[in-house]
Amino acid sequence: MLREILIIVIKKFIHQFASPKTYFYQVNRLYPWLLYISISIYISAIIWGLFFTPKDFVQGHSYRIIYFHVPASFVAQSLYAAMAISSAVFLIWRVKLAAYLARSIAPVGAMVTFIALVSGSIWGIPTWGTWWEWDARITSTLILFIMYLGLISLHNSFNNFDKADKLFSYLAIIGFVQIPIIKKSVDWWSSLHQPASITISDKPSIDPSMLYPLFMAMIGFAGLVACIVILSSKVQIYIREKNKNWVKDYV
């Protein structure tokens, strides 16, 4: 009995939230909260990381770019996973909102991957002595960046949104195989990039005094990026549903 009620409630919630209109208004309510909380978390994490953590025993002060690089790299890969899941939801259940979301994540993902590449290059100069090498981790991240751009231009090359969404989603799912490759690239092949410091199985090899602000920066950055995805998805709703009455009323 309880189980059936629960299923009905969940179904109702999903059905309602899957309508672009409900999503739009709910997200509008959530947005300022998310924005201000994320900004304050991110800024305090950066200040903590840059000024109130000890320097590293090998890299000195130059390790501090970790507070920009690691959140960006982590979010760049997570966004792709989110995009692939959204695409699968669209393909299986034909939820239009999922297609809008997947399409709106792509440019944000490209931007975040670009930040990861640039911050990594800047970090490489004082530590490795080079800003670019074709090692497995760097090259696979560059491929991720190109994949985001490719998906965007694929979607833009169709006049028919339905066709564009379907092809985009299939390709996004195929491309998901890139994510474990990036993750594992430093273990499968010899590379200039060091192996992961934070893993599920082991204790992090970063001292807690440096690790806590890093986690905070990751949470804050993820929140900020979520805000940008919300804005980007609103743009998609404007474009796709511009003939709907509620959009006209809202504008």
Binding site: K55, D56, F57, P126, G129, D135, A136, I173, M210
Partner: protein
């Protein structure tokens, strides 16, 4: 779940499975070609012509770094085989005895004439005060 949805779910799963298997086979075929550098053991096990550029990586052996004018020579070790390197130029700040290094250069008579020396660091981060503990 309705029949048509189940069909589409199976399609999506099949698609990801096939693409995953395909890419994994490609990676398996490429295997060590995606390696960024050779270790001294791997390099010495192969006949490398002296006109081919190689990347060798490993640890800088303790007590092996010598500087004469602007020429720096050292030994790379993977704790089973070693290879000597000489290089003219400035090495990165993180280049140190006992830490990781990757050199790019030509192999001549079992020695590497390096064109580029890159420092490699590991995944450990800690404050200097904790280092001795």
């Amino acid at each position: 779940m309705k029949i048509h949805r189940k069909k589409r779910l199976i399609n999506v799963l099949l698609l990801s499975l096939l693409s995953g298997a395909g890419i994994l086979m490609v990676l398996y075929a490429l295997n060590s070609n995606l390696d960024y550098f050779f270790t001294p053991s791997e390099l010495l096990a192969e006949e490398v012509p002296s006109n081919r550029r190689v990347k060798v990586g490993g640890m800088v052996q303790e007590g092996s770094v010598r500087r004469e004018d602007s020429i720096i020579s050292f030994t790379i070790t993977d704790y089973s085989k070693t290879i000597d390197v000489s290089y003219t130029g400035i090495v990165p700040d993180l280049f140190k005895e006992g830490s990781g290094v990757v050199v790019l250069g030509y192999l001549n008579d079992g020695k590497v004439d390096a064109e580029k020396v890159l420092a490699k660091h590991d995944e450990n981060y800690m404050p200097p005060a904790l280092q001795d503990k």
